[in-house]
């Protein structure tokens, strides 16, 4: 429904703390890895959804990265940014056709993207969506 609460859960989870207010005030809240896209021009058919990196088969970001910091993990299918190699040039941000890589200007000064939160029981955006709009599915047969 375009509320954007998924963005808050994502940012908070990436901040590594439970305290939303503290993270916000101490400027430790990083960029969210999920965003809301909406088209409200047609009032009869409003369109809105949360979009995050779709882990492309042939990622543009991997090709565009100047330092080779981004690679696609062949086992999990997740496209991962190596924080140590990323120099924050934002070329991948420009290259992504879905605008799903975000410059984390406030905290890490590097590019960030959805990496599916595989280390967690359930991705915070999925668990936190008030309307159950996000579903996580394992597509590996």
């Amino acid at each position: 429904m375009g509320c954007g609460i998924c963005r808050i859960h994502c940012a908070l989870s990436a901040a590594g703390t439970d305290d939303l207010l503290k993270a916000y005030r101490l400027n430790k809240l990083p960029a969210s890895r999920i965003r809301i896209d909406e088209n409200l021009i047609d009032k009869k058919h409003p369109l809105m959804f949360a979009i995050q990196c779709i882990q492309c088969e042939q990622p543009e970001c991997v090709e565009s990265c100047l330092t080779g910091a981004i690679h696609k993990d062949l086992k999990t299918g997740v496209v991962i940014i190596n924080k140590d190699k990323c120099i924050g040039c934002w070329t991948c941000v420009l290259a992504c056709p879905y605008s799903c890589i975000f410059p984390d200007i406030s905290v890490s000064k590097r590019a960030v993207k959805c990496e599916l939160c595989l280390d967690k029981e359930s991705p915070p955006c999925v668990a936190g969506c008030p309307n159950n709009a996000l579903i996580v599915e394992d597509e590996r047969a």
Binding site: C3, G4, I5, K43, K44, P130, N131
Partner: protein, 503 residues
């Protein structure tokens, strides 16, 4: 002219907690919150606030508080600020004041003055976790006696039984039309009724094509506007309800503003897009009890006597006599809607001042039908402001066979009773047709919430019955000895047919 209208609600934002995430901005359909580019933070305009608490619920840091405010601290005990604001509004518009939901005046709630019995010492209670507890309810015409054929060794029932509606517990979802509420809300009610084992009611809105598959759990309504009534409609249903009146607005017809009549509503109700859907009062072919009998039997003929016919009336002064007439006219079930019944839109004065409490109406009708010797000819469904399982138990003890819940069902789905349904804006996606808002009501979640509510009430009712030493709802039905009154006058006790606590 200058308006003297003032906002009744105040939005308080704790700046220490606000993180300017703008969730409140996009969630408020009334346009209260907005992001100010110059201040670079969210600002709120109290004037537009409807008091629905959507922003309060969704704020991730709990930074918002919405309170009723005493914006005018003038007048006196008779001329309260609310009274003054109503007069200001009418002098500015010349119009009838519209309102939604149920009666907002401080009339007594009789359920809160009735107490239940419990078993101790002389009559042991029953443990509902260890003994079977029967809540199953059948609605329909019951015979006065049973004729059983004992010859030939095997017992055979000779009496032909009328068709009955079987309910898992004595609660049904009340009539709420597609138009007054959104499609997602109707779908949630249909699914929950199907999954739990009760029924829901289409109200005056007709039956949407995609809900025909829940037909076996659907009561279709034939109201004065006859919206959506045709052969398939009657064929799909489990029962047909003739709506004569409604507790929120006895004596007058319904009104769905043209703004809420879009393509889907138009097709389902069979009226042109954008036209006001006006339900007249009365049915223009029912001007007497004989006409009603004719309509009841016309429907029975059309449905081949395979479906119970319900007649729904509002609780008014001579409700007992009216009910007696309706039962004699051939209704299988009679539904009585008390003055606390809710609505999508009704004139404020009628909603607040017309009708009588369901507690008194129910007691009077049950008593009158028993005196007339016709109580078993029709089941009674009571409606109008039932809030919890205790209200339901008390109603059954007063004589009801089952209860309709309207407001309680909407609240289960997220309604916060802000009473702005008549504007067509509902931030919970319930009382609106705006697609941007309707999608907020996820039927997967809403139907689960409804089923949970019914399950919770089922368990509570079993606990209460067990405590009373009863193991079947049938033993409680009309059993007023299990009720006592507190703070009631002798007349009130007499009408309710119960004794004072201590007696």
């Amino acid at each position: 002219m200058k308006s003297f209208q003032l906002s009744k609600y105040k939005v308080d934002r704790d700046r220490e907690k606000c993180i300017d995430c703008k969730v409140c901005v996009n969630q408020c359909g009334f346009g209260v919150h907005s992001f100010d580019e110059d201040f670079e933070h969210v600002v709120s305009n109290d004037e537009k606030c409807a008091g629905c608490s959507r922003c309060v619920s969704f704020c991730p840091t709990g930074a918002l508080e919405v309170r009723r405010r005493q914006v005018l601290d003038v007048g006196n005990a008779n001329w309260t600020p609310d009274v003054l604001l109503d007069i200001y509004k009418q002098s500015e518009t010349g119009g009838v004041l519209l309102s939604s939901m149920g009666c907002d005046l401080d009339y007594p709630i009789y359920w809160d003055k009735i107490l239940l019995n419990a078993s101790q010492v002389t009559n042991p209670s029953i443990d509902p976790l260890r003994e079977p507890m029967e809540l199953r309810t059948y609605l329909g015409n019951k015979p006065d006696s049973l004729d059983i054929d004992y010859s030939g060794g095997d017992k055979k029932l000779k009496t032909k039984l009328s068709v009955q509606l079987e309910l898992k517990l004595p609660v049904l979802f009340s009539a709420m039309s597609f138009g007054a509420i959104s499609f997602n809300a109707c779908y949630s009610l249909a699914r929950a009724a199907w999954e739990y084992g009760t029924f829901y009611n289409t109200g005056e809105g007709g039956l949407h094509k995609s809900l025909y598959k829940y037909g076996k759990r659907t009561i279709v309504q034939v109201a004065s506007g006859r919206f959506g009534v045709e052969k398939d409609y009657l064929d799909a249903a489990a029962a047909v309800e003739i709506k004569i009146g409604q507790g929120a607005k006895p004596g007058i017809g319904g009104h769905l503003p043209g703004e809420k009549v879009d393509e889907e509503i138009s097709q389902t109700r069979m009226i042109p897009v954008g036209s006001d859907a006006l339900s007249p009062a009365p049915h223009h072919d029912v001007y007497s009890i004989e006409d009603l009998r004719q309509l009841i039997y016309a429907i029975k003929e059309a449905t081949n006597y395979e479906k119970p016919v319900i007649v729904k009336i509002a609780a008014v002064h001579n409700v007992a006599a009216i009910a007696s007439g309706i039962v004699r006219a051939g209704a299988d079930v009679i539904a009585i809607d008390g003055f606390r019944g809710s609505t999508g839109a009704a004139p404020k004065r009628i909603r607040d001042n017309v009708g009588i409490p369901i507690e008194l109406a129910l007691a009077a009708v049950d008593e009158r039908l028993r005196q007339d010797g016709i109580r078993s000819r029709a089941s009674i469904i009571a409606a109008g402001g039932f809030r919890n399982s205790a209200d339901i138990i008390k109603a059954i003890a007063l004589g009801a066979d089952a209860i309709y819940i309207g407001t309680a069902a909407l609240v289960a789905m997220g309604c916060h009773v802000c009473g702005k349904c008549y504007t067509g804006i509902c931030n919970w996606g319930i009382a609106t047709q705006n697609p941007y808002l309707v999608r907020r009501l996820n039927p997967e979640i809403a139907s689960l919430r409804l089923v949970n509510l019914l399950k919770a009430w089922e368990h509570e009712m079993k606990e209460i019955l067990g405590g009373m030493g009863i193991n079947a709802i049938e033993s409680l039905r009309g059993n007023r000895h299990h009720l006592r009154g507190v703070g009631l006058s002798q007349v009130e006790l007499d009408i309710l047919g119960i004794r004072m606590a201590g007696q």
